[in-house]
Symmetry: C2
Subunit: 260 residues, 2 copies
């Protein structure tokens, strides 16, 4: 664990008393003692240094440390990071878990799951439990990666037809699609035109790809079709590929935004 | 399946008779009929169009198609592709499987597993069965991605101390390590100095990172330390991140080699 993600109920002041699984994780798995300091962060991304002030069989208490503290567990690179939003068409269970974890590690600011025509959708799995499971993956990834960006997961699965409204033109949105549509640009060309006034949206299609109608709909609504100069990738590989390449290109060619 | 990977015993001429699992895959899973054409590739990367000429309960026969054929299953982007070699410190089972599959999709030319000090090594798992299982993943990924690069897996796990000899200076080798070593460069700076006379090696550390001694050893042997400007990534995420970013940057800034 590189940082401990604080519960959203904690207001940043006074003693935080953990119970159950969280208490056991700190006291028994990490075997922290009274007096140990840990790096912590709240769900808004603000960082804290916390001192363990009490451990009992059932509880573990943390108090913000006084004064300057230096914690070796902080990440090596601390920004600035560009603001990437992942819009991911539904994947099968464990692939979706892994992808959400990896996108969180990389530092996307938010993730929305999208339902498109060719999704191999797990209709049996209820949306609420799916979101809950993915939020647990995000928290785990934040704790392990030390990411300073508190990745947010949209609570509703967004139907593709409602995606332009959900996105609301808050920045440039790209969709990745391997085809021979003449309009497609490659990634470096697109990045060279990006403004950093807002977030950059990254829409990744499902295993079966987008239908021609979906591509036309997305283009009509301002989403820019991008082709990756590589083999045809599985959906989850394409997502990490696009996010990684975008992050490196944006850090290289534009002055990235710092998420505070 | 975007292409069928031919067995290494097939010499590219005459009829190929498949039995067992492979025969069943074409005839029952894909439900191909006599007369169906499929895209195929041999383990050296040469592409074929094959026609199904006979199907029985136990066998499926394929014969190279005569004349020009156009197959809709070929990949959208056909190169040129830069030549990337992945040197990956050992991962736990399913993570290693997924990573090898994804690196194959992306189109690395070869993969070597590396044993370093902090590897969470599966000592119980014998090297031969591990390589066999990973080769099956590679074949599956080649068939599904339509990659024109026939990814090769090194049959032996390479100890880190023998890695420089294994690499043999066949091109620039990079190792990815998140630390504050003053020598480290970022990826775009390194790529701008790359020559494309040979392959580019990408060495990814294990979950626990490289030790200081290992870093010094690698630097001394000409491996270039690179820091990714991102959060601390898990080993398997770092591998895909580095390969994706390198592929995009190299296609953008240098004239890549075509692997024939």
């Amino acid at each position: 664990m590189r940082q401990f993600i604080l519960p959203s109920s904690y207001d940043g002041e006074g003693t935080l008393v953990l119970t159950g699984k969280e208490s056991r994780y700190l006291s028994r798995v990490l075997r922290l003692k009274v007096g140990s300091q840990i790096a912590a962060r709240d769900r808004e991304g603000k960082s804290y240094s916390m001192t363990i002030t009490a451990i009992s069989r059932e509880h573990c208490s943390l108090t913000p440390s006084k004064g300057e503290t230096s914690l070796a567990t902080l990440p090596a690179y601390s920004g600035p990071m560009c603001n990437l939003v992942l819009m991911q068409c539904l994947l099968k269970g464990h692939k979706e878990d892994t992808l959400v974890r990896q996108a969180t590690e990389i530092g996307v600011s938010s993730i929305a799951l999208v339902q498109s025509r060719h999704c191999v959708s797990d209709a049996k799995e209820r949306s609420a439990s799916r979101i809950e499971r993915l939020n647990a993956k995000i928290r785990e990834a934040l704790q392990q990666s030390g990411s300073s960006i508190s990745t947010h997961l949209e609570r509703q699965i967004v139907p593709l037809l409602q995606l332009p409204a959900w996105w609301g033109g808050r920045g440039t949105a790209l969709f990745f699609h391997q085809s021979t549509i003449a309009l497609q640009q490659d990634l470096p060309s697109v990045v060279s035109t990006l403004s950093c006034d807002g977030p950059v949206g990254v829409l990744i299609g499902p295993e079966g790809g987008f239908s021609d109608e979906e591509c036309a709909f997305l283009s009509h609504n301002g989403f820019i079709p991008v082709m990756l100069k590589t083999n045809i990738l599985r959906s989850e590989t394409a997502a990490i590929y696009a996010l990684s390449a975008l992050q490196v290109l944006m850090n290289n060619t534009i002055k990235p935004l710092h998420l505070s």
